[in-house]
Symmetry: C2
Subunit: 554 residues, 2 copies
């Protein structure tokens, strides 16, 4: 016991480490449950036992403080276990997006350099394609859910459940410095390859506390309490699923994980477990509300955080009419991700539904300990008047200090002691943040960034394409969708049409070079791409000149 | 602007400082109000302006980082202003108990050594008696609320409101290390003189976050949200009034301060402002419920934290029958003071009212980030079985690191890396802490510690008193009350009776040597005081031998 190291009169300097979040849950709700899909259910007491066994397993595999452990899985109880076990041993949990392009997937694994990689069997084909990226991996741990798994393509150290069963129980988690890195995930690049962001124990603990306060202490209908049944519909490899699994665990709330996302199964879990709290992107909300089976669901006891993209007023209206309590949350990967939520202030209570929906469609009010300001677009000096549009800049205790091993890109992230979000917007007189545009040339489709530069470069590979420009088009379901404007050279002229280019682009999805969500669904051939004086694509001029063409092509 | 000091790529290391708590409020509720007694009302925007003016005033008086500023006032908006202005300049706010004995009052001022002392006119008589303790005080600032104040007994630098009016607005609060001391208060000694405990910015910010979560995110009826109207009934010189003014400010809740505590005025404020959230000791709750005027009050929308002493089951029952939602909170001065609260867990919902009242009368469940264990009474090793009685030991990020300038007493506070509370108790199988007894020989009357040793020493001064022993007797109103057992020597015998001793003890209250609440109300003459083998007073044997005498004398 480390207690023996303390002399009388010496105080315990309590570190803000993830271990301390788990303690609350075990005291408050040892018998509350964690559920996985339609079958598995176990208690928080078992969760603790399994976290200790996972740490024991990893320790036996040689994982030490500072080592990286990677996770490639669907949303699951296993993912939750890794959220605690890996950081609590002082190692870093790296989570990987298996939906991105194959180059990006390989790059993130190679860049994170995990010593142990835990992979669900469904992603083995993907892993095979990026075999060269596994150079640092000493041990592969397989997650299998089928009785007769296929012949593994790799040499595995063991199966997840087998290893946990064999592990000695009672792993002792030591204290350490709260500034120890805990997690690492990648944000799909707006230009170039994905960038890594890492968060420390202190950052995650503080974000958990602030998130809890934002969802518990304001006069919002979206209250998250220990009584709720929580099921996230955003992926756990991204932004710690909005930090909510950490909060749900701290409060000892019941948690449900979907496994492979299948609409019917998910809706079934909604009913079976009487889910009362969830988080999803607007696209998912739209799909839920439109699904025939969902029409029979009673959503009136369910509270939903909508994030990843702006909630349209139309969608907010439909959700409210179905009795679903929705709030929007604004965050970014670099911010762990909490920035703000759309609480309706007490003094807006009397206002009209129209005003309420306006608020819901805003980016909301900053969470406790988050400072938000608007900087001049020139980027040189911070502005004092937040009412005019500029770049949204933030400070909080849980912002990424840098892009992982990328000092050059970090230079654009942190300026004048503020994190530059890349979002343009303003703050209204009631204090609500409004995001109106963005600095970089990207679309956000279903919560994922789509790099226009990448699409343009691929389109330009097609014989006869002289120039290409991608713009973001507002979309009710996806938030935004990329559309491509193409100029054909004189030599090819009428021999190239948009259908050929579309087919060509599909081929990149098949090879894994382009994620499916990044595939443009509009291809428009034009005479010229308007450029600015410095030869950048002039999006405003494009829309002015060709906007009608775009909307009539729908 | 300090922003200019940051080079590109350099992140802002967000410190947990009190300034950041105020930011949330100003953004969320600039127009929400702070009220004082029946007259003054101003907005959070004005609060910020006055905080800056107070800091400007103190700065002009020479207060620098690390200097101590003292406050002797009733609960007031001024006290709230000092909670922020003084720590936010990097100075230390020392708060003084004007209800304690004059020696203790003088000692605490002398020991804290404030450079500036802000004093309400009602306490000038008190201050006159401890003039020698003001050696370090460079400036006295007077608070006056009367139109024609009496001739001041001291040379004052100025009057509080005058100085604020003259101060330049717009004081700029700089960032600094979160481990900078912010406050200092004294805990009425269980033996000897009061002991000082100091808390840093980090400690106060973290306690505010945890307190908010405890009161917002659990399935308790006692929810504190931004919509509440808050009025504390515990003094602001003690334990930051349970840290609630910091939380209320962070959430932007309306706040009401009573000034000089007068029952009728307080009950009037309850109605006038529709108070929905308060905190008091059981004694005050008893007085409120018994007051004729209160019988007409609708208390059903009011939530109340009862602290400072155990809430008796009888009192809990009466409160519940009146529709008042009560919860008990367990804390101690050394713990800033939050340890635990009596949330009713979800899985106890179905239980009987009897069980619910049992829970309310316990010390509750630890707040997030608080670890509670039971140590063997021997004090040598921590126990693993919490179900048997032992000493309650705690860890949290906001515990006093030491007794201020008293390393010797600190030796008994911190052992084996745990803070030893001096309370005996156990933790039941549902996780609730139960405090059953205490290690030291003290009573807790109306939330205040009463030292038995001090009373015994005073009683022994009376001619003919051979021996004396004080015991704590359970009391419905006060929690506990001290009772004295006295042995008269043979030479005096029948010439000394209990009435004489009682009169003698009253004289110490008049001279300020004994606070009124420490005056025993039972004096029993006995033949012998039973002692243990090591010649300590054997309280158990006293109660066994003379218990009947005590209760029949009521």
């Amino acid at each position: 016991m480390n207690e023996l190291l303390f002399s009388s009169g010496t105080s315990y300097e309590y570190p803000l480490i993830i271990k301390k979040i788990l303690t609350s849950a075990l005291r408050y709700a040892p018998a509350r449950t964690i559920c996985y899909r339609d079958g598995l259910t176990y208690t928080y007491t078992t969760l603790e036992d399994r976290i200790k066994r996972l740490a024991g397993t990893l320790s036996a595999l040689g994982v030490k403080k500072g080592d990286v452990v990677g996770m490639v899985d669907y949303n699951s109880h296993r993912f939750l276990e890794s959220y605690f076990a890996v950081p609590m041993m002082g190692a870093v949990l790296a989570t990987f997006n298996w939906r991105q392009g194959i180059d990006e997937f390989g790059h993130t694994i190679s860049h994170a350099a995990p010593r142990v990689l835990i992979v669900h069997e469904d992603f083995l084909c993907l892993l095979k394609k990026v075999k060269d990226s596994l150079e640092h991996v000493d041990h592969l741990v397989l997650i299998t859910e089928t009785d007769h798994p296929e012949e593994p393509l790799f040499s595995f150290t063991g199966e997840y459940e087998d290893l946990l069963a064999q592990a000695p129980p009672g792993y002792e988690f030591e204290d350490f410095d709260e500034n120890t890195p805990a997690t690492l995930y990648y944000t799909s690049g707006t230009t170039g390859l994905p960038k890594g962001v890492s968060f420390t124990h202190r950052q995650i603990v503080l974000q958990t506390l602030s998130l809890g306060l934002t969802l518990g202490s304001y006069s919002s209908k979206i209250r998250f309490s220990s009584k709720d049944v929580f099921m996230p519909l955003v992926p756990m490899w991204k932004e710690h699923a909005w930090g909510l699994p950490y909060l749900a665990t701290m409060l000892g709330a019941q948690q449900v994980y979907t496994g492979k996302f299948e609409m019917e199964c998910m809706l079934h879990l909604f009913t079976k477990y009487r889910i009362t709290f969830s988080v999803c992107v607007p696209t998912a909300l739209h799909m839920i509300l439109e699904h025939p089976y969902a029409k029979e669901l009673d959503l009136s006891s369910c509270k939903l955080i909508v994030t990843g993209a702006r909630l349209s007023e139309k969608l907010a209206k439909i959700a409210l009419s179905r009795g679903l309590q929705v709030t929007s949350a604004f965050g970014l990967s670099e911010a762990c991700p909490l920035v703000s939520m759309t609480h309706l202030k007490g003094d807006l209570d009397g206002r009209t539904t129209k005003k309420k929906i306006e608020v819901l469609a805003s980016a909301g009010l900053p969470a406790p300990l988050v400072d938000v300001e608007i900087a001049e677009t020139s980027g040189h000096l911070k502005k004092t008047d937040n009412l005019s549009q500029g770049q949204v800049i933030i400070r909080s205790p849980w912002l990424a200090r840098e892009y992982h091993r990328d000092p050059k890109k970090t230079m654009n992230l942190w300026k004048h002691g503020w994190l530059y979000t890349g979002d343009l917007g303003f703050i209204d007189k009631d204090g609500y943040i409004h995001v109106t545009d963005r600095v970089r040339n990207v679309s956000k489709s279903g919560g994922e960034w789509v790099s226009h530069l990448k699409i343009e470069n691929l389109v330009r590979k097609y014989p006869g394409v002289k120039d290409a420009a991608v713009v973001a088009v507002p979309d009710e379901v996806w938030g935004e969708r990329p559309a491509v404007f193409v100029v054909i050279d004189d030599a090819h002229g009428a021999t190239v049409d948009s259908v050929q280019i579309e087919k060509f682009m599909h081929s990149f999805v098949r090879t894994g070079d382009l994620p499916k969500y990044a595939l443009p669904d509009r291809y428009l051939i034009v005479d010229e791409i308007p450029k600015t004086e410095v030869q950048k694509i002039d999006v405003r001029e494009i829309m002015e000149r060709y906007g009608d063409l775009l909307f009539s092509a729908g």
